[in-house]
Symmetry: C2
Subunit: 348 residues, 2 copies
């Protein structure tokens, strides 16, 4: 069942956005233990099929790996980097796209529309191409040539829009040819990203903090939802959720005047799921931290020296970690999760 | 124990190449069942630790995912693409590098030399940087700027050599500053790549054919070794090993006059492990197939349309599959494994 977080209306069928314009959350019930529900015969995302609101016969053919974790002790704190960039399209977005595609197949939808300037677009284009679904992608005109080339290679229909990110969004929303499935709204997307939490729990058990690059909130909310499931099923601990944002684009903490250029993947000043994120921050006793380009650049360098080839937006969470570490925010021995969201191979 | 495949001499300690110049093979003994030896608490490469000749305390911090498999039925044949490109450095080479690094750490070696023009170099540079080991990388002068930039970003010491690939090899071999660990010789490298076979067996059971891009033979021989282990432990079936080579660079089948430009990753006309590969071909009742640029280009296009973003060398195996399919080589219902070796994100 889908429930609107604004007006409370519920829907049984497929829906991306509430009639009232509010955002929807998928609400499911599960009985049993986490371990008992695992599909242990699978060593990929299908391991968590029992937790996903989809029918097995509609699964995309392209499946997703369980991403590895790199553990490092940094000044007495146990940091766990989760390599979310080792996905078919090079970013964590594939988790959300995977579940979304299964729903589209179930509904028989053959034409969709998305606005994005980066990873979400590439992820959709890849899975859509793989399943023979036609994808309209709305992007800002100033999107890099490399990204445009990749989208065209995947035969997405690219619509370039002159104007701001919000103008691109408006144009896509009012486009009438394909079903609009923006990940900013799409509740199935979060059903996919929540699998990250399940993997983390299997790989390293409970963590104390999760530092997450947060723009539209797809990963932040997915992780939180996954951890809440684990609490309900296993009595697992919900980590303190730390939303990391780019300077000048903060939606959850005070807006800076300075504008980050490097955190482009999370430069979303008015995310539709803002209220939902604030609630997660509050419930998990979390916080919002924003970082600037100097710290991000330094963080990328350090990540690369650890063998982690990531794109700038991914480095924001590590930059925030370094800042909080200096502030004495973490106790010694604390377990901190840092998902690394996008591959650096794309930007080389 | 390491055994020379040319003179038969054995070594107990660390060694890359036999004193006689021959290639070494690691020979180990294992008792128990495959399932019993699995380290099921791990959902990454450490799952196969019992099969690897290394000490757990020296494992690289950066670990490797179990790569997913995409199944497609193509004209009645069950094709299984294994996404080996979803590795930290973007290629299957990370498997070999992983085991090699563990051995280097065990030996306390801090400075190494490798010659490569592509994926092996990037893989070593990444892991070496991550473990604080200094890497000398010898590359042909005409190597692409993108690759050079990436190697420098990882602070590898890049030595550019004017001349052919074989001249680069000679220069690296005679270089005296770092231990020469060429994957063309390095027996530990194959210990890493053999894990691919274990994963395949867990994921889809027996396969009938394995089509493998084959230059120096690191993946071809690793897969074959892994399948042989599975036969010994489980009575599993060894697939027919099909070596796929680029036109003009064949070492296992008749040399063509035409020269492939796209199969650059396997353009190795005189691989040191040639005899070992011929033996594997014969023992497994396999074959060698060579493909040209036109077929490779067509194969890349088809792979991308399935959502598989790979580099040209990876597409050779699929091109060979298409050729053999047309020849009526495969029976209906046959299971064919095609490892996809390198990421296309690097070349975009």
């Amino acid at each position: 069942m889908l429930k609107c977080l604004r007006c409370g209306r519920t829907y049984e069928g497929f829906k991306i956005m509430c009639e009232c314009g509010g955002v929807l959350e998928y609400i499911g019930e599960r009985e049993g233990s986490f371990k008992g529900l695992l599909r242990e015969e699978f060593l990929d995302v299908r391991r968590y099929l029992s937790f996903l609101p989809l029918k097995e016969e509609f699964l995309p053919k392209l499946t997703l790996p369980i991403t590895p974790i790199l553990g490092r002790k940094i000044e007495g704190v146990n940091v766990f980097f989760k390599l979310e960039y080792l996905m078919p399209s090079g970013s964590f977005k594939d988790r959300g796209t995977y579940v979304t595609l299964a729903k589209l197949k179930e509904e028989g939808i053959r034409e969709v529309t998305l606005d994005s300037s980066g990873n979400a677009a590439l992820s959709l284009a890849l899975f859509a191409k793989s399943e023979g679904i036609h994808a309209h992608i709305f992007i800002p005109k100033h999107t890099s040539e490399g990204k445009k080339r990749l989208l065209k290679l995947l035969e997405a229909e690219v619509h370039e829009v002159e104007g701001s990110r919000m103008e691109v969004h408006e144009r896509a929303r009012s486009f009438r040819e394909g079903i609009y499935i923006s990940h900013w709204y799409n509740p199935y997307f979060i059903e996919g990203t929540k699998t990250t939490a399940y993997e983390v729990y299997e790989q390293i058990g409970n963590v104390d903090y999760a530092l997450v690059p947060t723009g539209s909130g797809t990963l932040f909310l997915g992780l939180y939802k996954g951890f809440k499931d684990l609490e309900a099923l296993e009595g697992a601990r919900i980590p303190r959720m730390i939303a990391v944002q780019g300077r000048g684009y903060e939606s959850l903490c005070k807006r800076s005047k300075e504008k980050s250029r490097l955190a482009e993947g999370i430069a979303i000043p008015e995310p539709p799921r803002r209220e939902q994120m604030l609630k997660a921050l509050k419930e998990s006793n979390g916080a919002c931290v924003s970082v600037g380009d100097e710290e991000i650049a330094e963080a990328i360098k350090e990540l690369i020296s650890m063998g982690l080839l990531v794109e700038p937006t991914s480095a924001t969470a590590y930059a925030a970690f370094k800042f909080l570490l200096e502030e004495g925010y973490f106790e010694k021995g604390t377990k901190v999760l840092i998902p690394l969201t996008g591959s650096g191979l794309k930007s080389v």
